[in-house]
């Protein structure tokens, strides 16, 4: 009976209940405090809103852009004096900034109370792979090494067995930021209570609290005395690294004054009214050392410590483009589920997501806070075809494995049918106007390209390509130009020296005459002989730059013998023979036959070639 009364009262004080807003807020005051005014991105802040006075009322949760806010708990102390109810309600909100910068908590108001002044706080950028930035914290007091504490020690002091006492024990006194630590508060009594006990929860600094639900009750013997006890378990979560404190837990109780009649005698009990004594029992303050999480957190890590699983589902696996489906993502497990932000939405360029809603269901798993948080978001496929929703993942720190882990759902494949062309705005969100023209849905590579046959242009380009490759043939135009330049130079040199030019062209002039002679018909045999003679005399005339008429065999032989390279006697003999033969034929009545002309022409070619070498040198 006594324990039940304590439990009911304590549960009312600790439980996170739904706030019943009331307009009866006469004589209220509201204050708001922030546990820190400068934090690093990734850290959380705790906003405590205290409403004191007669009546009950709650302000609306503050709205701060780019800051996720959720209500973490509500504690209430209530007194009734002279029939007037006076209460103090402390609402706790957790602020989770999504970006760095300067933020302002707007004024919070309840009817009948002055609004709170705005509170400014700053969020500094903090790289993920470094240790989380810490706000200035009080100097850490020496804390014993982390070790699970045993069950709550039953006796407050050795050798003493008071009528009633209260204890508070932490499961362990060292934990990571956001890791659960269980606080057990036990109220022991060995005597009947003379009224309902009043429980004041300990004041927490740097900690969030969640009630673990059903309270425990039992009996035990301490120092030879029988006690009944009631216990409340709370899950505490350090908000930031550093030293967190748990203030005294207070139980105000009315007990029989020591020595009053409480004997077993029936009349003693019936007639004697025991003298009452109000006692205020409290625990010693406790400290908890919160350690920062190790570096190397994944990019999507949001600070959750525990063990999570993720499941995702859609309400329909087949729909038309432009129709809506609901994607439900359920994250469940142990940890401070309430503070879990929405997992990163799948990156799907061919679908659009719209605002989501979330709900939390808290449970206790063997003394650990957990439960599930459900996120529902509407997705609208923009185009038809198979649509795979990739796995949704959530990263967390697993204290049991002392490592970061990632829970991931399975991929979901949707069949998206062609949308109704008459339906209104299938490709855009509600209320939005369709963009004119073509809108890109997803960037991707273009489709295959069948090899087209080699057309004329392709063949020309291929030929150009082959021609352009480095090779020795590219020296040909250079050689051509060089040859042309040499030839041009030679021509210029000859033009400047007519005598040398005549000498150099002597053989070609003789050749022309020889060909003319060979071309003569049988009727022109005499002319052919004349041409042969002119070829021979003209050759030497050109070489010696003299008139052909002035040359005789003797003068020619003389010039040849006195040249730089005198010809051999045999050549001179051949020259004399041909010269004489031509002279003879010139005056012969029949001239020379065709074969004879040919023979003489060849002989003259051989002679001029031989003399050309000798006369050049």
């Amino acid at each position: 009976m006594r324990t039940a009364a304590f439990a009911v009262c304590a549960a009312a004080a600790l439980a996170v209940g739904t706030a019943t807003e009331s307009a009866s807020a006469a004589g209220l005051s509201v204050t708001a405090t922030l546990n820190n005014h400068r934090v690093a991105l990734g850290d959380q802040l705790v906003l405590s809103v205290t409403i004191a006075g007669s009546g009950t009322a709650s302000p609306k949760p503050p709205l701060i852009p780019d800051v996720e806010i959720y209500e973490s708990g509500k504690s209430q102390a209530m007194t009734i004096v002279g029939g007037r109810v006076s209460s103090t309600v402390v609402l706790t909100y957790v602020l989770n900034p999504k970006k760095s910068g300067r933020f302002v908590v707007p004024p919070l108001a309840v009817p009948g109370a002055e609004p709170t002044p705005p509170i400014v706080f700053n969020v500094d950028p903090a790289p993920r792979d470094e240790a989380p930035a810490q706000a200035p914290a009080p100097p850490a007091a020496p804390v014993p090494p982390s070790a699970p504490n045993p069950e709550p020690p039953p006796a407050p002091r050795p050798g003493m067995t008071p009528d009633a006492f209260v204890t508070a024990v932490l499961e362990k006194n060292r934990a990571f930021v956001n890791e659960q630590v269980t606080l057990v508060v036990r109220f022991y009594t060995a005597v009947p209570l003379l009224g309902a006990p009043q429980y004041d929860a300990p004041k927490l600094t740097g900690l969030l609290s969640e009630n673990l639900g059903a309270e425990g009750q039992g009996q035990t013997v301490i120092g030879g005395r029988a006690y009944n006890y009631s216990e409340l378990k709370s899950a505490l979560f350090p908000v930031q690294a550093g030293r967190a404190t748990i203030g005294p837990a207070v139980v105000t109780v009315t007990l029989p004054r020591p020595g009053a009649a409480t004997g077993d005698d029936f009349f003693d009990r019936f007639f004697s009214m025991p003298a009452a004594e109000a006692r205020r029992l409290h625990t010693d303050p406790l400290a908890l050392q919160a350690d920062p999480l190790p570096p190397g957190a994944p990019e999507d890590f949001s600070g959750i410590v525990g063990a999570l699983t993720v499941e995702s589902s859609v309400d329909r696996l087949s729909l038309k483009a432009g129709e809506a489906a609901t994607l439900t993502v359920v994250v469940s497990g142990v940890g401070n589920i309430k503070s879990l932000p929405e997992p990163k939405r799948p990156d799907l360029p061919s679908a659009r997501f719209f605002e989501s809603e979330s709900s939390v269901k808290l449970e206790s798993f063997g003394g650990k806070v957990g439960g599930s948080k459900t996120f529902k978001m509407v997705l609208v496929p923009r185009v038809s075809g198979p649509l795979e929703i990739p796995p949704v993942s959530v990263s967390f720190y697993d204290p049991a494995k002392r490592a970061y882990a990632r829970a991931q759902s399975k991929a979901i494949r949707l069949a998206v049918l062609t949308g109704d062309p008459n339906s209104a705005r299938p490709l855009v969100g509600p209320g939005a106007s369709p963009a004119p023209g073509v809108s890109e849905v997803a960037a991707d590579i273009r489709y295959l390209k069948a090899p087209e046959g080699r057309g004329l242009a392709a063949k020309a380009l291929a030929a150009l390509d082959a021609f352009g490759r480095t090779g020795p043939w590219h020296a040909l135009p250079g050689a051509w130009l060089l040859g042309a330049a040499l030839l041009s130079w030679r021509r210029s040199a000859l033009a400047a020296d007519p005598r040398a030019r005549r000498a150099s062209e002597a053989r070609s002039a003789a050749e022309r005459r020889l060909k003319q002679a060979e071309a003569r018909s049988a009727e022109e045999r005499a002319r052919a002989v004349v041409l042969l003679g002119e070829a021979l005399s003209g050759y030497f005339a050109d070489k010696f730059d003299q008139p052909a008429a002035s040359l005789t065999l003797k003068s020619v032989t003389h010039r040849l013998r006195n040249g730089k390279t005198p010809p051999a006697a045999a050549e001179l003999a051949r020259l004399k023979s041909v010269w004489d033969e031509l002279d003879l034929l010139r005056y012969a009545p029949g001239g020379a036959g065709k074969a004879e002309v040919k023979r003489l022409a060849d002989e003259l070619r051989a002679l001029t070639a031989a003399f050309d070498r000798e006369l050049r040198s």
């Binding site: 960037a443 991707d444 590579i445 273009r446 489709y447 295959l448 390209k449 069948a450 090899p451 087209e452 380009l461 291929a462 150009l464 390509d465 082959a466 021609f467 352009g468 490759r469 480095t470 590219h474 040909l476 135009p477 250079g478 051509w480 130009l481 040859g483 042309a484 330049a485 030839l487 041009s488």
Partner: protein, 241 residues
């Protein structure tokens, strides 16, 4: 003889088309690994066909091989830089490795015009203009005054074309130099020397274009074209173009 050649060509068409259709069917069915193997065989048999390198790049990319896909698209681009699909897909894979086809600071139309002709085509035009100019110069030298007057205009035009294409070719070789390669390993490490004992100076993403500067055993000295830094990388991590 001609009839025989035509017959052989006609008979060879289905034989060549069948592997291509098999590769395309594998691609369409989502079996990108098989499609990549088939396209690789086809492009190896006809390395001058830009379309086959293009298709190979698509299959490799769909198979998750970004670096090799980038190399194939680069080959297709080198062969046919005017193809819009090739440019689009090459730009797509380059962006996924932190680069863009158009260098920063250069307008896209200007770069498109600059790369409208491939390096080989420019080389061909350069040499064609060179041959024309030198031949005309020879004729001018050998010809008389009349011919000289007649050819001098053409000679000037050919010389200007030679200079124009030569400068263009040289510029293109500066932007797309020979001896290029593509990193095909994820987060490849560039060391300060050819061996594991040297410290890692940089890491580079898969698909990043590099220029191979020298070789030493299993190591290549490469320069990152975009950042202008260099280091040594395992040869197996780079596919040369």
């Amino acid at each position: 003889m001609i009839a025989g050649l035509l017959l052989a060509a006609a008979l060879s068409l289905p034989a060549a088309a069948a592997p291509y259709h098999d590769a395309r069917a594998a691609y369409d069915s989502g079996d990108f690994e098989r499609a990549a193997a088939a396209f690789a065989a086809l492009s190896a048999a006809d390395p001058g066909d830009a379309a086959l390198h293009y298709d190979l790049g698509g299959a490799l990319l769909k198979a998750g091989k970004l670096g090799r896909a980038s190399a194939s698209y680069q080959r297709a681009f080198d062969l046919d830089p005017r193809d819009g699909d090739v440019r689009h897909n090459l730009d797509f894979v380059l962006k996924r490795s932190g680069e863009e086809l158009t260098p920063p600071g250069i307008p896209k139309p200007a770069f498109a015009a600059f790369t409208a002709l491939s390096s080989r085509e420019l080389a061909g035009l350069h040499w064609l203009a060179a041959w024309t100019a030198l031949s005309l110069a020879g004729l001018v030298l050998l010809g008389g005054a009349e011919r000289r007057e007649k050819l001098s205009g053409r000679l000037m035009g050919a010389a200007a074309a030679w200079l124009f294409f030569g400068l263009w070719w040289a510029g293109l070789r500066a932007v797309l130099p020979p001896g290029r390669g593509v990193i095909i390993a994820g987060r490849a490490e560039l060391r300060n020397g050819p061996g594991e004992k040297f410290t890692v100076g940089y890491t580079a993403p898969e698909g990043r274009r590099v220029r191979v500067l020298s070789e030493s055993g299993e190591w290549l000295e490469v320069g990152l074209l975009k950042e202008g830094v260099k280091g040594w990388i395992l040869a197996a991590s780079v596919e040369k173009l």
